[in-house]
Assembly symmetry: C2
Homo-oligomer: 312 residues x 2
């Protein structure tokens, strides 16, 4: 019977890999660089070789490993086909078959945001729930939906792509996706900083943010905690935008909990309080008690999710 | 082995019942009145007695019936507990256990909008798909989500309650749910008529709708087809509001197709064309090719869904 599972999280710069017990304990984790030469042709080979080496190093036999679960930065169809991972140079091919051939182990793959959601449900902020929507507020806004313990991948691999819900009509700047007014443009770390710059440039309101050279999401939330009025307005607007979008999502998939992660979530309880207050205002009455939790696994969520995916 | 399945759709006025072959052919259907006296205490007994009678009439043996699938007008938890069906006078109890005791048959229950979605997927406009979002544009706006062939009931029984997605900020009238600006207020049959009255009262635009005493959704779509400018504006606004909300839903659950039913869907292809045009405008690029279909089962969708639910 299998004792171990391997979780892999392929990013644009590094690949994170972890070996877990089947019960969910992370035994060892490490990183290798993501080799993007020749359309990313070496990435999966590097992953397989690195896992082999680490198993030997730890005297673990391959027969004791249930398999590899892998998150990739792009849409993945249910049969394991990636549809394009621009960051890696990958085109369209079946990553599960490919890594399985290279490693001699069963492989399952999914979108990295969905994997993070699965990881948080298994051993993180969503532990104890089986129906969650994970929201990652980082450079962009990622989402992952888990229903009855399973990832909602979506027919086009776009399940949980909530960062690209259009929330505003009057936006003039274009989102990375090509549309205007996406949730990501207001609620990601980049988004709230962009809103701060607009507010600082279009009002005369005094604010300690005026003396900060490089404003980050952290500075905005910290200033709001200290009573800075302009920062507080930004945090309120952030919470309203996010809370309202999550209310729309609740009226669609009706989860037990939202789990909030990513850099912005380091703001902590104030983010949860503000977002959930607006959520209650906009939510359909039956969903008003949906819980809000902070993610706890940080950058390891993806490898946890990988291990959980292959363990089923 | 079972030859038949029974589908039941409990409405506020009548209960629809149908007997199907396990292959999905509707053999016979009938209606009984919904007895709402004493908090709806007689409804399930009436249903059980009526099914017994009809089975005898058709010389069908109970052992040949796989069971009963039932749609009810309110949220139903996964264990079969209804949380309140205001229209029937029901409080909180397990309808599956209750009808199973009364009928001696296995029973599964679900929300009526979800059942209609399941029915349309099985034998209607969604046939051939396994991932659909059904949108019912009737007096209100109902929704039902089918993922991998299974209903998304939601943790609070509010899965697919898309009529109560908040889509406008400046609404002054209150929706039946207590909020303001719900999708239902603009895109239901009632909603588009309400919008027509506002347009007729606040503009001087000539329109043949001015000579209609009781405007219905049908008159608005018909006038638009005949080139009436004001009616056309209403149809465009309807399509934009609906298309945009469906784009948000696509970025969440990413289905293969939207199936549009309810009274408004009698407008036919013009409704599909307008809605899908705006959908493409607002949708995340990976979901832009999501199909749009018209529902085909009309008021029978619920009993089809019931039969499919119990057949699994």
């Amino acid at each position: 019977m299998a004792k171990y599972a391997v979780g892999v999280d392929i990013g644009g710069t590094t690949v994170k890999i972890g070996i877990f017990t089947v019960e969910g304990e992370l035994l060892t984790k490490w990183e290798i660089p993501t080799r993007k030469d020749e359309g990313g042709a070496y990435i999966l080979g590097d992953v397989a070789a690195s896992i082999d080496e680490k198993l030997k190093e730890n005297s673990m036999d391959k027969s004791e490993v249930a398999g590899i679960g892998m998150g990739v930065p792009g849409p993945v169809k249910q049969d394991g086909t990636v549809l394009k991972c621009v960051n890696l140079g990958w085109g369209i091919f079946n990553v599960e078959d490919e890594l399985s051939k290279l490693s001699g182990l069963p492989v399952k793959a999914g979108n990295d945001a969905n994997m993070a959601a699965l990881g948080e449900m298994w051993q993180g902020g969503g532990k104890g729930y089986t129906n969650i929507v994970m929201v990652t507020l980082g450079t962009g806004v990622g989402g992952g939906i888990i229903l009855d313990g399973k990832m909602l991948a979506g027919v086009n691999g776009a399940g949980g792509e909530i960062g690209h819900i259009q929330v505003k009509d009057d936006e003039t700047e274009t989102c990375g996706c090509g549309k205007k007014g996406c949730l990501e443009q207001y609620t990601s770390a980049t988004g709230i900083v962009r809103q701060a710059k607009i507010a600082l440039n279009t009002t005369d309101k005094p604010s300690k943010l005026r003396s900060v050279q490089y404003i980050s999401a952290k500075e905005i939330f910290d200033a709001a905690k200290e009573g800075d009025e302009l920062a507080n307005d930004l945090v309120e607007a952030h919470g309203e935008c996010l809370g309202r979008a999550l209310a729309q999502i609740a009226a669609t998939v009706d989860p037990e909990a939202f789990v909030i992660g990513g850099g912005v979530s380091k703001a902590g309880q104030v983010l949860i309080d503000t977002t959930s207050r607006y959520f209650v205002k906009y939510a359909f009455h039956a969903c008003r008690n949906t819980k809000f939790e902070l993610a706890t696994l940080g950058n390891d969520a993806g490898i946890y999710g990988g291990a959980k995916l292959i363990l089923g």
